[in-house]
């Protein structure tokens, strides 16, 4: 600009990508070897008999009896009479020896939509009920907002 003949020095620097790629490759190998792909969780339950502390007013609760043919029978306790009348004594027939989970979700959706105070369910499986069916029933209850679950021993 002012007639100087000095050339400007380059200020750009190059990042050594080869070392960076090596580092990333080692990281990927380590993580691939040590990552746990199956995520194990837990379903927390209480013992339905003898597990609750005695309190003044009993909380509304739903009793679910699982039949060995997959039939589910419901009994609503300590709830207002109009809800007991509507939802109190219901049954959902099993499908191919398993509980009808779609129908169960529909039933619980209607129940919790009408009566949101219900937060406890006690499940009583049959002697030969598979563990998987019990867990799936619990899962449907939790999905419909009923969080406090218990199982009764035989």
């Amino acid at each position: 600009m002012f007639g100087s003949k000095k050339t400007k020095k380059a200020v750009n620097t190059e990042v050594d990508l080869v070392a960076f790629i090596s580092l990333l490759s080692v990281c990927i190998c380590f993580l691939l070897l040590t990552t746990i792909w199956i995520q194990i969780g837990s379903m927390n339950v209480k013992q339905a008999v003898g597990g609750q502390a005695a309190s003044g007013k009993p909380k509304p609760e739903m009793w679910v009896v699982m039949d060995k043919e997959g039939e589910l029978a419901f009994k609503l306790r300590h709830a207002p009479r109009k809800f007991v009348k509507t939802f109190g004594n219901s049954k959902i027939a099993g499908v191919d020896g398993k509980p009808d989970f779609v129908e169960l979700a529909n039933y619980l959706g209607k129940l919790t939509g009408a009566y949101s105070d219900l937060s406890m369910a006690l499940i009583r499986p049959a002697e030969k009920t598979p563990f998987e069916d019990i867990i799936q029933v619990m899962d449907v209850f939790r999905e419909q907002g009923i969080q406090d679950l218990g199982v009764t021993p035989l």
């Binding site: 990508l17 960076f20 790629i21 990333l24 490759s25 990281c27 990927i28 993580l31 691939l32 040590t34 990552t35 746990i36 792909w37 199956i38 995520q39 194990i40 969780g41 837990s42 379903m43 927390n44 339950v45 209480k46 013992q47 003898g50 597990g51 499986p125 049959a126 002697e127 030969k128 009920t129 598979p130 563990f131 998987e132 019990i134 867990i135 799936q136 619990m138 899962d139 939790r142 999905e143 199982v151 021993p153 035989l154």
Partner: protein, 159 residues
């Protein structure tokens, strides 16, 4: 000689086959390092997100399939009672069905010895195959109740 990428090599023009009057074309391809680094970075981030720091809490036997659940919570370290092929195990040690309450009581009383640096919370994890019938699970739940383990956790696979 190797300064130009393959795209400019001009194989179709006959370069490299003795055609006079034209210089030798470059056949070396340059690797796109930037996109490679990007891919590696995404992979590392994905694997880091999935990386579990809690460690392996359960030992899965061959052929055992846990039931799946969407509303599962994180598994915590406590006493694991495994039900496998109608046999009971506490931390991989086979226990006769009739001795379960006694063994659970022993674990509770000597908690510091079995699980140092942790406190007894009354929690117990039951690990069973998804096809397991409830009768034996009921026995484990009852035994846990008798021994003071009122908080029952069923091990499941998160959906």
């Amino acid at each position: 000689m190797f300064n130009r990428p393959l795209g400019q090599a001009g194989l179709a023009s006959g370069a490299g086959f003795g055609v006079k009057g034209k210089g030798k074309r470059n056949l070396a391809a340059t690797v796109m390092l930037t996109s490679l680094v990007d891919t590696f970075s995404v992979l590392v981030i994905y694997l880091l997100v999935n990386f579990s720091t809690t460690g392996e809490l359960l030992y899965m036997s061959e052929g055992m399939e846990l039931p799946a659940a969407a509303k599962a919570i994180e598994l915590e370290r406590n006493v694991v009672v495994k039900v496998e092929k109608d046999k009971l195990y506490i931390e991989e040690e086979e226990i006769p069905t009739t001795q379960l309450v006694k063994r659970l009581l022993d674990v509770k009383q000597n908690w510091e010895k079995y699980y140092p640096d942790t406190e007894f919370t009354g929690a117990m994890t039951i690990q069973a195959d998804r096809r397991q019938a409830y009768d034996l699970l009921s026995h484990v739940i009852q035994a846990g109740g008798h021994a003071g383990y009122s908080d029952i956790n069923f091990a499941v696979i998160r959906k």
